[in-house]
Structures are given as C-alpha cells and as structure tokens.
C-alpha cells in the first residue's frame, strides 16, 4: 500500500480539509456545505442530530438531501426509511419539498397488533425494536437513507449501526434526545439544533475531519 493510498484512508486524521476522499451528500445549505469536510453530509456514516425541541426546522434541514437521494438514480438503495418518527411525516409537505413519495417507507415498531403489546410499552424494548429495524434496513442494502428516532441506545449498538452504515453506504440519521449529548458516540457527525428568531443554529459537537463549531442557517420557508 502506497503512502498516497494510506493517507486517503478514512481512519487517518489529517486535520481540516484532508478528507476529500470521503463520500458526501450536499446538504443544500451553502454555509453548512462549506463547513463540513467533503462538502456535505457524510454519506456512509452515522449522523446524530439533537434538536432542542420539535418543530424548529429539524426536518427541513434534511429535506434537500433527502430530495436529492429520492430522485437520484445512481443510488444502490431504493428506500428512504423512517423508523418510529414522533409524529406523522406529512406527505403533501414532503412532496412539496421534492421528495418522491414512493421511495418512503414508514416503520412503526410499536404499532404491531400481533406482537407482544405489553412488552413494547417499556422504553428499553421499544428502543430495542428501533435498533433492530434500523439494523435490518442497513443490512438489507436496499436503503438510500435511514432516519430513526432513538431514545436510548448503548454504545455497542451505536457502533454496530455506524459499521452497518459504513459497509452499506447508507446515509443514517439518528434523532436523539438532549440528554445523550453528555455521552460519547461513535457517530461521524453530531449536531445540536436550536433556533433563534428566523435562524437555525447548528452546533457541530463532533465531526470527523474538522473541528467543532457553529453554523447559522437561514430558516427555510
């Protein structure tokens, strides 16, 4: 293996700007693209997003990239899977953002009438089901993106997801509650979102290939 190859390897840290080789997905926000290494969301890695509250633009941040994935033809994956969203992703609004609806798959791990109902109510088991669903989606190799709302997960499980995302080139976004920020995570990118007036503050807590910082984005209409 030559030095050139070695230096391009993902696991070699080369400081700011050294990661042209990693595959990315344009975010659709110029400021964010400029900040993130490779100019976009890390395509085959785990991204963790911690929104301060719901309804502050946490979904609209992802819409341009999802629209790009859903109409793109060069993707190995087909599905864009939503695992256990807290509310109903509203189809007309998604359509308006340019997403092809027939690529979307909504998975509700606790909605099953057949399975053990009383088991699913306990938090850890619901989390277990979400993890299971995400892992299946990654492993199947038929997904372009997976979005999951995950309350609790241990480090080992997250690492498995990170590996799954890497191997299957699937953009994986986990929405996590604020308390999880105190613990470390194997995710390649961790963001905290807050909102002020008409802007979204994107705090980059951790990012492979660059330093933590803050990006302020116009809130999309």
């Amino acid at each position: 293996m030559s030095v050139d190859e070695l230096i391009l390897h993902r696991r070699i840290w080369r400081g700011r700007g050294g990661h042209a080789a990693c595959r990315t997905l344009p975010t659709g926000f110029a400021e964010l693209d400029r900040y993130l290494p490779g100019g976009g969301w890390p395509r085959d890695a785990l991204t963790e997003i911690v929104p301060e509250r719901y309804g502050i633009g946490e979904l609209s941040l992802l819409m341009p990239a999802l629209a790009f994935l859903s109409v793109g033809t060069g993707n190995p994956g087909h599905w864009i899977v939503w695992v256990d969203p807290p509310f109903i992703p509203y189809a007309p609004a998604l359509e308006r953002s340019g997403i092809e609806l027939d690529r979307l798959l909504l998975v509700h791990p606790s909605a099953d009438g057949n399975a053990a109902p009383e088991k699913d109510r306990s938090g850890s088991d619901a989390g277990h089901n979400v993890l299971w669903a995400v892992e299946q989606a990654l492993r199947s190799g038929s997904c372009a993106a997976v979005l999951a709302w995950l309350e609790s997960a241990n480090d080992k499980a997250l690492r498995r997801l990170q590996l799954g995302a890497e191997e299957n080139a699937c953009w994986t976004v986990l929405f996590r509650p604020g308390a999880t920020l105190r613990r470390s995570s194997p995710a390649a990118l961790r963001l905290r979102l807050s909102v002020a007036d008409a802007v979204i503050r994107v705090e980059i807590i951790k990012c492979r290939g660059t330093r933590p910082g803050t990006v302020v984005l116009e809130r999309p209409a």
Partner: protein, 428 residues
Amino acid sequence: MWLAVRLADPEARQNLEPLAVWCDRITPLVCLATPDSLLLEVRGSLKLFGGLQAVERELATEIAARRFSFHLCAAPTPLGALWLARQQGANVLETRALAGKLGPLPLPVTQWPENILTLLNEMGIRSIGDCLRLPRDGFARRVGPRYLQELDRALARRPDPRVAFEKPRNFSSRFDFPAETDDREVLGAALGKMVEGLVDRLRGRQAQARQLAIVLHHAHRPPTVSGLDLTEAVHEADRLLDPLLARLESLLVPAPVIAVGLQLRALSPMQIRPPALFGERGHPAGRPVSKAGLIERLRGRFGVEGVCGFELAAEHRPELGWTRLTGQLLETSSGKKDPGRQVAKERKLADRPLWMLPSPLPLAQGAARFRCRGPLRMGPEPERIESGWWDGGDIRRDYFTASASRGEKLWVYQDRVTREWFLHGLFG
C-alpha cells in the same frame, strides 16, 4: 420404464405421500401403489439424470436420509416392477425378459385377495409362472378375468395406464416436541425443518407462497396463531424462513409450546424473473439487493400495519391529504400512478408542515406538550379550509402559521363553528 420404490418397514409406510411429493422432482408421473410402494415412470428422466443408476442413486440418498429401509426395482411395466420390488428382485430392462423374471415370483407378491390366493394354493399353483402355464380361458373362468388382466399388464401384453398422484394443494405441517418448550431457538429449528417441506411442496406445484401462518400448540389452552402476509410471493427457503423467524421472535408466547405448525394459506403461480445479466443494480458489498426483502423482514416482526408507504390523496382536508399505503408497496413504485395521485401532484401544493399530529390537540394542551411558552405570533393571512359537508367529516377551519416565542413554527387553526383553537402540525 417404471421404477418401484418399496418401503420395507410397515411403520414407515404412512410417509408414502410426503415421499411421493418429493419424487416429483424425478418424474411428473408418480403413482401410489398402496400399501407399501411408489411407482415412478422414469423413462423420460433417464437422459436428464444420466441413466437409471443415477436416478436410483438420487432416490436412495433421499430415502436413506429419511431413515427408511427400502428396495428399488425397475421393470418395463409398473406391475412387473412392483412385484419384483416386493420380492427384492433385480432390475429387468427388457420386455422380453419379463416373463422369465416374473415367473419364479411367489404369488403373494401380487397381493391378490386372500381367497384367491388360497384357491390357487389349493390347486397347487405357487408362482406366477404356474399361473402363466394355465389355459387362459380356464384361469379367467375359475379365478376371475380381473386377475388374468393383471397378469397381462405385468407382462406388457395389455396397456397399463396409471393415474398420477395428485399433490395436495395446501400445506400444513406440524412438529411435535418431545417435551414442552419455550426456547425460541428450538421453535426456529423446527420451523426451518418445516420450511424445507414447504419449499418442496411449492416446487412441486410450481407455486410461490403469499400467505403463511405459524401455529403454536399449547397443552392446556387454544393454539396461538399468527398469520404472515408476504409482500412478494416467494419460494426460496431462506426468504421464507427469514420473515418467519422475525415473526417468531416478536410473537408473545403465552405458554410453553408442545407442537409448532406451519400452514400455507395462499399461493400464487410461480413467476421467476430472469436475473439481470450484470446482476441487480450494484451494491457496494456485492450482494444482491432485494427491495421486498426488507419489507418482509420488518413486517415479519412488526406486522403489516407496522410498515407502510405514503400516497397523496386529492383532498382538501389536511387529515385526508395522504393515505397510508400498506398493500402493494412495490407495485406503486414501478410507475403505476393512479389519477387521484396525479391530480394531487399537479395541484399547486400549499405550504404544509412536515410534522402532522395524529389528531388536532386543543391549543393549550398542545402548547403544554411542546413546552411553547409566551404568546404566539400569528401569520398574516389565514388559509380557510371548509370541506366535507357531504360525507359527515365536515370541517370549517381557518389555518394560521404561528411562531412561538422560542422559535417553533406551529400550524394552528380556529374552528369557525366553536371558535376554539387547535394545534395541528409542526414545521419540523
């Protein structure tokens, strides 16, 4: 050319039918010769398998795997093969040699009724050869024309058409455990075994499974039944087993299980898409990508309702602006679009929130739930939606986009009848 398969052990003979189903892969014409044998017409299969010995080897391997003791014998006529097999005779390949080989066989191999055998025995006739030496008209008169015809059929002097074994349409299998168990691995292994039988059955019928059911039998309570709809009809063992195991894992087992059953509830004719020349659309890890496989696996665990797609509906009422698509998720993606969808698509889409609440919440309750404090600033122009008076779902609402003091954007409405305010969505 007929091949007789005789099971020596009377206990094993109740397994003739499953074996007949399996033999379907050797020849389409399999006949049951009760109580002990199967007859296979193998002339057409000799070339495919590469000779009689290869066919026999194939059969012998399978029957040995089922732990039956058996004897195989080939002859040009079905009865000839059957009678020779009952006496453990050698193969007879030519019609000319039949009379010579069948002659020495004792009469009981024919399994004629007891009184006929006694009658012949009392006449001093011990073997088939003795019968053949009797005058034909005398034999027919004294013993019965039916038995003369049987002799003729065995010697190929008379055609012997046979009816093929009709394979059962449905599949239902049951595995009894020696003791009660609730170990899911044991249950899974039993299911795996049954899926093999199911795959054989499907292959025999040239069909694919659409709907399955797992039945868990308990000692002192009614069985637990769990149905499983498959997104795409399948016939491969691993693609059948995967969703079954996922379902099993999520199934609440109320009591120890004494037996597990697998039922095939619906099937469809086999349709095999030829694989693409360069494989399916490429996957980085080099594995085939199956769009339906994921849905099946998720549904196996979370049920049909747990996995759905989206579809737009041509409807002004926000709640009805979309529908949950649970049925044919894949067919819509192949470009088939219904007109309502097109209409909805062409309609200029108004600004809608990305998050919708399952049902509108009274505003005070909603604000408390999402911890919005302070006054809401309402957007300038309300959007009036009045619709549905004709189907009982009458709504009259003024929708506003509202900003909370901490930056959330909400979609709220005022009911024009009651004047109450509701929260309906969040601009996520």
